[in-house]
């Protein structure tokens, strides 16, 4: 491992609008080594890998691959020619093609007579080597395969060789859909591949996997590399510690303020919860989500582990208040605050007023028609109450900044008759000032007796919650009270090692 590094990145910067996804990252990958890369959601791992694979271009920084300077004009084809392969987190197979045809899509060299036979032989050989007993035929249509098998195909495809060698394979959450036995096969293969002089970057939320497989581990947080050591220098505890925040910054004030306003309907007083639901994917085991009136309940854990699905189920259940529907019961009407504003939130062609009033139209009716004046009044009220910065509520919603659009979505929910607010990570891409205003508003609403269920990927926001449920793989794995809620506790619950 003393040879020159295969890949060397220095000072790589990447911005998406106002968000700095990468802030001067240095990274090197040695020939014949497996590098583990860990970090919480949004730490910048996937962005960094996309830059390495040529899918995104870095704003600043240098990049060398196999001794060549590829800082400028690095693109997918060049990355492929240099032997960089990437298994992206979201599946990048064409579901309408067969396994062999998907192999062809990756390789220009599979052309001319008999390409079909060669492609089939190529992918079959790799599948046999990596996943013995895989049960996949190269002529299977990819869309018909189970998600686990699709992932196996995608991984095997990354290791196929035609005219260019494979030097470095980036595996981004490769085992997320594989069972323990198959994942074991993959990790064993990674060790063999590395022993033969290849390099691998392994990104995984399963820390045990990374600790066992990687030679060196890099920890990222907030777009920076915060630790870079030999794997033997880490253990689970130290990894989690490195991923978490070092200093508790100024959120303590806000949290203290939140603690000062106790929930109106205290759990200890008994009674019935307003919301009660068992995660659908959890089977019989696992914990049940409960929320009382006036509580702010946080849903934590890594992204895509069942939090949004839970919110959607609660929303469905709230159509029939008080009725148990598929294991979920909500006693009051609910309103949903979407996090993905553009696709689930705003009506882009409508005015601000209409965007606010859509959830409350039944209150604005007169003989079946909407009373314009009442609609404008409602919108005006909320504009002043939560400070949407606009000269007039009749302006189009897209004239607002992202944070103010989100405020309008909050206004939509708050203006309604809903007793339960379901929030799907609503602060994505919202600036700090707006966030503080909204936090205050939420506390006030909770104090008035509304129940808030809040999925957030930001640790700081969990400090505003009375209760936090941590999700993993579709189930609730921890139920933390405000007193027990620490970043460490949430991280530990989110990153449980695969059961040995």
């Amino acid at each position: 491992m003393t040879a020159a590094p295969l890949v060397r990145l220095a000072g790589v910067d990447k911005r998406f609008g106002a968000v700095r996804a990468l802030a001067g990252v240095d990274l090197s990958v040695d020939t014949g080594a497996c590098l583990g890369l860990v970090g919480h959601n949004g730490a910048g791992k996937s962005t960094l890998m996309a830059i390495l694979a040529g899918v995104l271009a870095a704003d600043h920084g240098e990049m060398h691959v196999a001794g060549q300077d590829v800082t400028h004009g690095h693109a997918v084809t060049q990355a492929h020619r240099l032997g960089l392969r990437c298994v992206f987190q979201e599946l990048s197979l064409c579901p309408n093609l067969t396994v062999a045809e998907n192999t062809r899509v990756l390789h220009r060299a599979l052309d001319g007579w008999g390409w079909r036979r060669r492609a089939a032989a190529l992918i079959r050989d790799r599948l046999d080597t990596i996943f013995p007993g895989h049960g996949i035929d190269p002529d299977d249509v990819t869309g018909d395969l189970s998600i686990g098998r699709r992932q196996m195909v995608e991984i095997a495809r990354a290791f196929t060789v035609t005219d260019t060698p494979v030097r470095l394979v980036i595996l981004d959450e490769p085992t997320s859909s594989l069972d323990a036995v198959v994942a074991g096969h993959l990790l064993a293969f990674v060790r063999r591949f590395v022993a033969d002089g290849g390099s691998v970057i392994l990104i995984s939320h399963l820390l045990g996997e990374v600790l066992d497989t990687a030679d060196r581990i890099v920890v990222m947080r907030d777009g920076r590399v915060v630790a870079d050591r030999l794997a033997t220098a880490f253990d689970r505890g130290r990894l989690v510690e490195a991923m978490g925040s070092v200093a508790d910054d100024d959120v303590d004030g806000a949290a203290a303020a939140a603690a000062a306003t106790p929930a109106t309907g205290d759990r200890s007083m008994g009674g019935t919860p307003v919301v009660r639901a068992h995660p659908a994917g959890a089977g019989i085991g696992g914990l049940t989500l409960e929320a009382w009136q006036g509580e702010i309940v946080g849903l934590a854990g890594l992204g895509g582990h069942g939090q949004t699905a839970m919110l959607v189920r609660l929303f469905e259940a709230a159509r029939h208040p008080g009725v148990v529907n598929a294991g979920a019961m909500v006693r009051l009407p609910a309103a949903f605050v979407a996090g993905d504003r553009q696709s689930d939130g705003v009506f882009p062609l409508w005015s601000i007023a209409r965007n606010i009033s859509i959830r409350s139209l039944s209150q604005l009716l007169w003989r079946g028609l909407i009373v314009r004046r009442a609609e404008t009044e409602l919108a005006e009220t909320w504009r002043t109450r939560i400070g949407i910065r606009t000269p007039s509520v009749d302006h189009p919603i897209l004239s607002l900044s992202g944070g103010n659009q989100q405020k309008a979505l909050f206004a939509r929910a708050l203006a309604s008759d809903a007793g339960v607010l379901l929030m799907d990570d609503p602060m994505r891409g919202v600036d700090v000032g707006t966030k503080q205003e909204v936090y205050g508003m939420l506390r006030a609403e909770a104090a008035k007796g509304r129940t808030i269920i809040w999925y957030t990927t930001e640790m700081d926001e969990l400090k505003h919650c009375d209760h936090v449920y941590v999700f993993r793989a579709g189930a609730i794995v921890a139920d933390l009270t405000r007193a027990a809620m620490t970043e460490d506790a949430v991280l530990h619950a989110s990153f449980e090692a695969r059961a040995a």
């Binding site: 899918v55 693109a75 997918v76 990437c86 992206f88 990048s92 197979l93 064409c94 062809r104 189970s146």
Partner: protein, 316 residues
């Protein structure tokens, strides 16, 4: 699970549905009018399905990348008018004009891709352009088919009627090109998961240019075949091809999204639709009912497919 899916009958049933529909309607016609079950009868029955099948293949190339072509009817009308006038009178000018039509189609594909425009809007707009050009070229029905084209379309090969030979040849050529060739895989992959194809280093612009140019080419062939059969042209001659071609692709097992198309199925779908018209004439139904009855046949087949799909979802 994959072994089960492979053995499960729904998948096979769905693949066979276009062939079964075609056989069913053909059998019904033979039963109603036994004299059609002859060389001459089949020739008459299937003659007009050749241009429709070609237009359906053109439409299939567009559906392959999740777009929809609402201009194919107007386009086939225009190419038919060019064939009946310029190609007959001044062949060089005719060939040049038809080539330009193909180039224009490819340019339309590039525009749709580069500006990320909805294909429905662009092609709907272009359909009026094609139609306007056709009217300018041939204000009143007329023109004449070139003799060689007339001779080709009335060819009498031994044993098998010409329309069947033509249908088999076109279906097989396109099947090999799109379903079996190495670049055909990339073209279909771009309909299934464009991002994946782009990340593998392929140009989506190139893909769209190719598919739209192919659609333009088959549109030209459809116009020529139509004039070869009817011997003269008219600016409105093929307007109904737009909906017929979409119906043909869907009837042939294609889907509106996801790059799931089948050239052999599309040709069979086009033939089924043509035969449906004849079938209704043999029933002595009022011609006014024909369009509606064709729709009913389409609904019947699609309902069958929906049933098969539902069975397939329940299977695993």
């Amino acid at each position: 699970m994959s072994a089960l899916a492979r053995l499960a009958p729904p998948r096979l049933l769905r693949a066979l549905l276009p062939a079964v529909s075609l056989a069913a309607i053909l059998a019904a016609i033979f039963w109603l009018q036994p004299r059609t079950a002859s060389y001459f009868g089949l020739n008459l029955l299937l003659n007009l399905s050749i241009p429709i099948a070609l237009a359906t293949i053109a439409q299939m190339f567009i559906l392959c990348v999740n777009d929809l072509d609402l201009s194919i009817g107007g386009y086939v009308s225009l190419t038919a008018c060019i064939t009946a006038t310029w190609l007959n009178d001044t062949p060089a000018l005719g060939v040049l004009a038809l080539l330009l039509c193909v180039v224009a189609y490819a340019a339309m594909g590039a525009l749709i891709h580069l500006r990320q425009l909805p294909s429905i809007v662009v092609t709907l707009g272009m359909s009026f352009v094609w139609l306007g050009l056709a009217v300018l070229l041939l204000p009143t029905p007329g023109g004449q088919a070139p003799d060689w084209l007339r001779a080709l379309m009335t060819l009498k090969p031994p044993y098998v009627p010409f329309p069947i030979v033509a249908a088999v040849v076109f279906a097989l050529v396109v099947h090999v090109g799109l379903m079996r060739s190495a670049y055909g895989v990339v073209l279909r992959g771009a309909g299934g998961n464009p991002r994946a194809v782009e990340r593998a280093g392929w140009s989506l612009l190139h893909v769209k240019l190719t598919l739209y140019a192919l659609a333009g080419l088959f549109g030209v062939l459809a116009g020529m075949a139509l004039v070869g059969l009817t011997t003269s042209a008219d600016a409105n001659i093929a307007l109904r091809y737009t909906l017929l071609s979409i119906a043909g692709v869907i009837l042939g097992g294609g889907e509106f999204v996801g790059g799931r198309v089948s050239p052999i199925g599309a040709v069979m779908g086009a033939m089924t639709l043509t035969l449906a018209g004849s079938f209704l004439s043999f029933l002595r139904l009022n011609p006014d009912w024909q369009i509606g009855a064709q729709g009913a046949i389409l609904i019947l087949v699609l309902a069958l497919r929906a049933l098969i799909n539902r069975a397939e979802r329940r299977a695993p």
